[in-house]
Symmetry: C2
């Protein structure tokens, strides 16, 4: 139970804990079956029994050290009334993107016990099923990342619309980011109350900013959330992981933000990261998910290299949580995941 | 004439030279007119008079310090017979992607004087028109970047097919990269012979690799090209710029590669970059192209911040070439480019 949480707190553990971003997902046939039964992705998210079922699926197959709530970072704007849908193969889309002062002013901060109650119910079901065997990770998107979808209306290559807003009407964008942050605080506090034992903030798109904009428009709002979480539960603090994809150059500021752990993508060498930030936080990562397309010998070698790089940094042998550097790809062979986890056990 | 070249050689200049990646492009109405006349993008590339005309267009409008050949990094695989086309709004596509040993073994290294003669003719026309007023930059893609399109067949999000090849059949991928490198050496030497005065290698996708793969599959082949270029012309060396988008964490190895200048995307702070690599190479960049969506005052402030960051690094006041951190976006207002260039003049 405690290995993953202990590593986040940088306490000694008898192994390197491991979980995978998107570990409940399309690469699993049993997931695809439940997904087909649900009809569409949002119905799956909104049906606690099914969301609980898919959350638990990877734990039955693999020797993982944590569960992560099955949900999506865009449930908050969905609860704000933006009309979220997932077109097959196209990613998320909002029927009502948010681009002007009036729309932003009128956005309502959702009460998680009402419009997001399906998530809270899902967490309660999962906690009951896990029965203390493994910890459950709750999560949300960073306000900047969530805002990119709300403003652009869909996935984007250049982030032109939101960046135009950022450079032309920064106060307006900050009003939006602040509303998302407030909604996220309520939402994550409800997750904690329902029983999650750790939290990850996914900042998938912080890395498209320059450093000063990253601090001002992304990290600042992640810190705002962190400071207002009710993290003390039964005398212990719920650890929080910050994951900014493409944030490798700003590790120092991220590690100084007050978070307990920093998630790394595969572009950063984990040993160099440890040397740069010293003993401050735990580090999570960071295998390129495409390594899982390789033959077993190559997968083992790449896992070994990451664990060796971390250890050879010589600063803090504890505080490493093994993970991918990004969500697992839908066409990943299941056997590769088995090989990867076995390699983590063997080399750590 | 010499300001840009002098800056690349880190000689003192009386101003900070400036040019823009994709400065001849869709944001210019006069470009769109010629493009429409040509019918499609490849015809524009392959018609020396038209390619020369669009190369010169931005120089007539703006006070720029260099011209860059109008062409595309994919003309080499096109000359190899892969059937390049550009679907409207979809980016490049290859009718015949390259994915197996037989296809790779059969790839022919094009003779640039034959199948790429249209580029050589374009360069000769431009040099004649420029008549020594401004230097002309020649360019090619990095072998890794060109290979991503050849193997994937089109733009991609996860680079799954080529990464699968990289991890499962590295020797095969290296055979492909080596062929592209050999073709690029011949092609760039022909560009030098035709009169270009500097060269940039565009490594648009090196940043999707981890560090060891970046060194092995991308930078190595850029170095291979560099070493085999006939760069001595009239007793002077043609300077070469390496631009790896997303390569900010590997600046040290890039700066040690033997190139004369390193292009930076906007995720790297240019002053920190200068401090990290010391006095080794010139630095080019690095305004986020989306800043050009902003009001003039904001554009000026962002330009000023970059120039100040470079100067305050205190290592080498010479050796900065101002540029964007990526190609200019098609919907950029022309007035913004004017404001940006004026600001470079004012603050440098």
């Amino acid at each position: 139970m405690t290995c993953f949480i202990d590593a986040l707190r940088r306490l000694p553990t008898n192994k390197t804990p491991v979980w995978l971003m998107r570990q409940a997902g399309r690469y699993l046939p049993e997931y695809r079956e439940v997904r087909a039964k649900a009809g569409n992705f949002m119905t799956l998210c909104k049906t606690p029994e099914l969301a609980c079922e898919v959350t638990l699926q990877p734990l039955k197959r693999f020797d993982l050290d944590a569960a992560i709530l099955f949900s999506d970072i865009l449930v908050i704007p969905d609860a704000m009334g933006l009309g979220l849908s997932f077109a097959e193969g196209e990613g998320p889309q909002f029927a009502n993107p948010v681009r002007d002062a009036k729309t932003i002013a009128e956005l309502i901060i959702p009460n998680p016990q009402k419009s997001l109650s399906y998530v809270i119910d899902t967490i309660r079901l999962i906690i009951r099923e896990l029965n203390g065997r493994l910890p459950l990770i709750g999560f949300a998107g960073s306000p900047w990342t969530v805002a990119t979808y709300m403003v652009e209306g869909r996935s984007t290559k250049n982030f032109s619309i939101i960046k135009k807003m950022m450079y032309r009407e920064p106060a307006l964008l900050k009003q939006l980011l602040d509303k998302i942050a407030q909604a996220t605080i309520l939402y994550l506090n409800a997750q904690i109350e329902a029983g999650v034992q750790a939290i990850q903030l996914f900042d998938t798109w912080g890395g498209v900013l320059n450093e000063s904009c990253y601090r001002e428009f992304s990290l600042y709002y992640m810190e705002t959330i962190l400071q207002q979480l009710k993290r003390e539960v039964n005398g212990k603090t719920i650890p929080v992981i910050f994951f900014t994809k493409g944030g490798g150059q700003w590790l120092d500021v991220i590690a100084n933000s007050g978070c307990d752990a920093v998630g790394l993508d595969w572009m950063t060498d984990i040993g160099e990261a440890r040397q740069r930030i010293g003993n401050k936080v735990a580090l999570q990562g960071n295998l390129d998910p495409s390594v899982l397309y390789a033959e077993p010998a190559q997968i083992r070698q790449q896992v070994k290299a990451i664990i060796a790089s971390y250890r050879d940094a010589g600063i803090d042998k504890t505080g490493h949580i093994f993970n991918l550097g990004h969500g697992i790809y839908p066409d990943t062979p299941i056997e590769s995941v088995e090989v990867m986890i076995e390699a983590v056990r063997e080399f750590s």
